[in-house]
């Protein structure tokens, strides 16, 4: 290295200034996307290596399971699939009915959302934040603000897209707020993360609000962050304190946060998307913002080209 050159103190001073400049640019301006993406490709192998042990465990668990347990699982899945198929039949009828009703109201029909399955990498980023890394990135058409679901509900949203992987924030992160509504009566509010992956707070419900334990909270679709109608949490406890203007409401996320490996990425197909891009169904990428997706293999792309709205 350079043993002759500026003194140690001078070098440190320059590096400190550079760091502060970098932080400012990265935080305030977002100018450093390219730098970060370039470096992220360099560190991607590290993430993969770190993920290897849990991947190997998973693989070992799969390949060492007995024939009997596989047959049992297969039977159980068959039953589940039958049940879901029956529910799906009803859903299709309901969707058709909903479409007709919306047509009567002269509003545009809701389109089915496009879905892609991604896998979480077992990478711990920060013990005090609820972040996760998934194995899909800009190459699969992900965008910042995209909703992340699992089979039971909303998991979070994408905060940073890199070419090969992405980072997401979970709804239980203390810095995350999810716009929700109570499924029973449509009452809208906001669910804040607590830093505990088994509870959310609803601090903005007045004491006389119609909320009881057991209510299901679904995404309201306001704020354009999440598509509407997906389950978020179930109300656990409502504490109405007469001296305070707001009730203290605690809810438990329905999604298995941090416990399942697979997550679903959703491309929201909004009404505006259809009005801007009339129904042609040619599968073309939509707009020139660069984060619009193209249809990729393994996705359920059965309706329209998706329009994307970076939610933040």
């Amino acid at each position: 290295m350079f043993t002759r050159g500026p003194s140690l103190g001078m070098r440190l001073f320059l590096l400190v200034i550079t760091s502060i400049l970098l932080m400012y640019l990265d935080r305030q301006q977002g100018h450093l996307q390219n730098v970060r993406q370039g470096l992220s490709v360099a560190v991607y192998p590290i993430r993969l290596v770190v993920d290897l042990p849990s991947r190997a465990m998973l693989w070992a668990g799969e390949s060492l399971s007995t024939r009997r347990s596989l047959i049992e699982e297969n039977q159980r899945l068959h039953q589940d699939q039958l049940q879901s198929a029956v529910q799906l039949q009803r859903l299709e009828a309901l969707e058709a009915e909903n479409g007709r009703l919306r047509a009567l109201l002269e509003s545009r029909p809701r389109l089915p959302d496009r879905i892609l399955v991604a896998e979480m990498l077992s990478v711990d980023l920060d013990p005090f934040r609820h972040n996760l890394v998934i194995d899909k990135g800009a190459n699969d058409g992900l965008y910042v603000g995209q909703a992340l679901l699992d089979a039971d509900g909303v998991v979070g949203q994408i905060t940073r897209v890199e070419p090969l992987s992405s980072e997401a924030i979970m709804i239980s992160d203390p810095g995350h707020a999810t716009p929700v509504e109570i499924n029973r009566n449509g009452l809208r509010t906001i669910a804040l993360g607590t830093g505990d992956s088994s509870s959310l707070r609803l601090p903005f419900l007045p004491n006389n609000a119609d909320v009881v334990a057991g209510d299901l909270l679904v995404t309201s679709g306001l704020g354009n962050a999440f598509p509407s109608g997906y389950p978020v949490a179930r109300v656990l406890a409502v504490d109405r304190r007469p001296g305070e203007p707001f009730a203290e409401v605690i809810a438990e996320p329905t999604a298995a946060l941090n416990r399942k490996r697979e997550v679903l990425l959703v491309w929201e197909q909004t009404d505006e998307a259809q009005s801007v891009h009339p129904a042609t169904g040619d599968g073309a990428a939509v707009d020139g913002t660069g984060d619009a997706d193209t249809s990729t293999d393994g996705t359920r792309d059965d309706a329209q080209p998706a329009a994307t709205e970076p939610g933040q």
Binding site: M1, L8, L12, L15, I20, M23, A42, V43
Partner: protein
């Protein structure tokens, strides 16, 4: 350290440290994760202050920032400062007995961690309370082990 050196064992060691920094841990233990990269930077800047300067530490910090998804420059700044303090004190640190060395190192780790708190506090929410200090404690415990491992495994391989 006479003659020329091989660099790849040091490189491999840093890759290992970077991996350990994000390796999955049980949730209750996660705050106690030793700051592997900081310890590695301190070790090499203590033992080879001529070759391993603040610039290299800064670059490693930049990689760590990308790896952990923090603000670009946060770990870079902390590591450069840690390397600077270590290089300034390396003559004294090297003659300390190992436990005294570990305590002195924990102070340098504390400098790095506090830079981290400060930047976390400015850029987002500062969570965790006193558990934030846990890495300083665990670095005291891990330091002798890491020194032993490096002296047995990495240093012999760097000799040519």
């Amino acid at each position: 350290m006479s003659g020329r050196q091989r660099y790849w064992p040091i490189l491999v060691f840093f890759l290992l440290a970077l991996s350990l920094e994000v390796a999955p841990m049980p949730e209750s233990l996660a705050p106690w994760r030793p700051p592997w990269v900081v310890l590695a930077v301190i070790y090499w800047s203590m033992h080879q202050p001529g070759r391993f300067g603040v610039g290299v530490a800064w670059l490693i910090g930049l990689l760590l920032d990308v790896l952990k998804g923090s603000v670009l420059g946060q770990h870079a700044l902390g590591l450069a400062l840690a390397a600077y303090v270590t290089i300034k004190l390396c003559q004294r640190l090297r003659v300390f007995p190992i436990w005294q060395q570990a305590l002195a190192i924990s102070l340098i780790v504390a400098v790095h961690e506090f830079i981290g708190f400060w930047i976390d506090g400015m850029t987002g929410t500062l969570q965790g309370g006193l558990l934030r200090l846990a890495p300083i404690a665990s670095s005291v415990l891990v330091w002798p082990l890491m020194c032993w491992l490096i002296e047995r495994l990495v240093t012999p391989m760097t000799r040519r």
